[in-house]
Symmetry: C2
Subunit: 231 residues, 2 copies
DNA sequence: ACCTGAACACCGTTCAAGT
DNA sequence: ACCTGAACACCGTTCAAGT
């Protein structure tokens, strides 16, 4: 008496067909559920009910996987300020705020973004939007490219850095080595650091960010003149 | 007849006594000889003729080790521009050039610096030097703190990024995903990116860097005025 | 042709047990 | 008290061998 084949074929939920989309989506799910640190080739393979080797058909390596996952999250960046009216600098700021806000909740991704080149569609859309805003503000195209690069870098780094602090509870990270070193700074050796003291870390992320955006955008709109010689 | 104790005690070159300095110095040697990637707890322990567990007496974890090693290399930063005469902006630039040059040859360390907080003595000396220069240029202390942060961030990132390109041979990284994506960009969807094309990556590291330093320092010396309302 | 089990060559960190 | 062998719990990536 043989078992009924049609029933015994499989007991567990259908194993979804693999594809790049499925792999990246599963990885994004892993980030959402357990954080970026848990997104390893092996864990992801387990999640997809296969062996790690199979993933290499769809992603080049772990770095590329991380970059693809980040792009999934970049879909959440609010680009509406690009097509809104209002001061262009404010609109740049709002886009960056949306970008940073996203990364604040996904610190591991911010750190990954710091050491990889992004190239996904949502990243391109973000860059395009910022370039459009800078163009509308009268920033020359070549400077706009540089400015967007740096704006995104600083935004990413601020998210990544915040995540370092957040790993420990205390407000300005009592036990941070840098804070300790600054507090211990000898005024005779490091007068400026000693004078600033904890003010070295002053200013909220947003305050610093807004200041930087204003400075950079102001500088980018100025046609650069060569520094005057000893005349 | 017992073996002569004084001779048989050890056959190999003296195992150097462990200490934080010895551990960090050995790690720096590993970086010099084989690159930052090879500086793992296990390899370092092997180098020091002990087990990995022993290292945890002297360093908290791998991140702290990397940060300590980086500080060793930061000893090479040329801080003489701090006490020289000449345009203060030039002198800031020269210090940053020295810092970046160092990291260009140690890409792994640049990447490490991007994701850790530094706090070593040479890092403090670098920050102190930059703060002194900005102060001499009339930058208010609180803005100077922000500016130095960002200057070092951008310098570090540019070294880390260069290292990503350098990992592959071709000049503007032919096979870079981002370059490919930009080249493929549809002008209808991404007009600004398509218009810029390869110019998105234009400008040498130093050109971009110098431009950025000038913009930031110009902005930092301006007393910020609240953006004028709709008046 | 396509996919993957199993292996290779590693990791960081902890802790019980030694001296 | 100080130090560490050995173990625990993982990694990324490759490739020979299957279907």
């Amino acid at each position: 008496m043989s078992r009924t084949p049609s029933v015994s074929r499989r007991e567990r939920p259908a194993k979804p067909a693999l594809s790049r989309e499925a792999v990246v989506a599963a990885a994004a799910g892993l980030v959402r559920a357990h954080g970026t640190e848990k997104v390893t080739m092996r864990r992801l393979a387990q999640e997809l009910d296969t062996g790690p080797a199979s993933l290499y058909v769809y992603v080049r390596d772990t770095a590329e996987l991380h970059s693809a996952v980040l792009d999934v999250f970049l879909a959440e960046v609010d680009l509406t300020p690009v097509t809104t009216t209002g001061d262009w600098r404010d609109r740049v700021w709002r886009v960056l705020e949306s970008y940073t806000g996203l990364l604040y909740e996904r610190p591991g991704l911010a750190r990954a973004a710091l050491v990889t080149h992004l190239s996904g569609p949502h990243y391109l859309a973000l860059v395009e939007g910022l370039l459009a805003l800078l163009a509308s503000g009268g920033v020359p195209a070549d400077r706009a490219a540089w400015a967007v690069d740096i704006l995104l870098l600083v935004a990413t780094a601020s998210a990544a850095e915040q995540s370092i602090r957040d790993a420990t509870p205390s407000a300005p990270a009592e036990d941070d080595d840098l804070v300790a070193a600054v507090t211990r700074a000898d005024p005779a050796v490091h007068p400026h650091i000693a004078a600033l003291g904890a003010d070295l870390f002053s200013g909220s992320g947003p305050d610093r960010g807004r200041w930087f955006v204003d400075v950079l955008l102001a500088g980018a709109t100025v046609t650069p003149r060569p520094p005057k010689e000893t005349s």
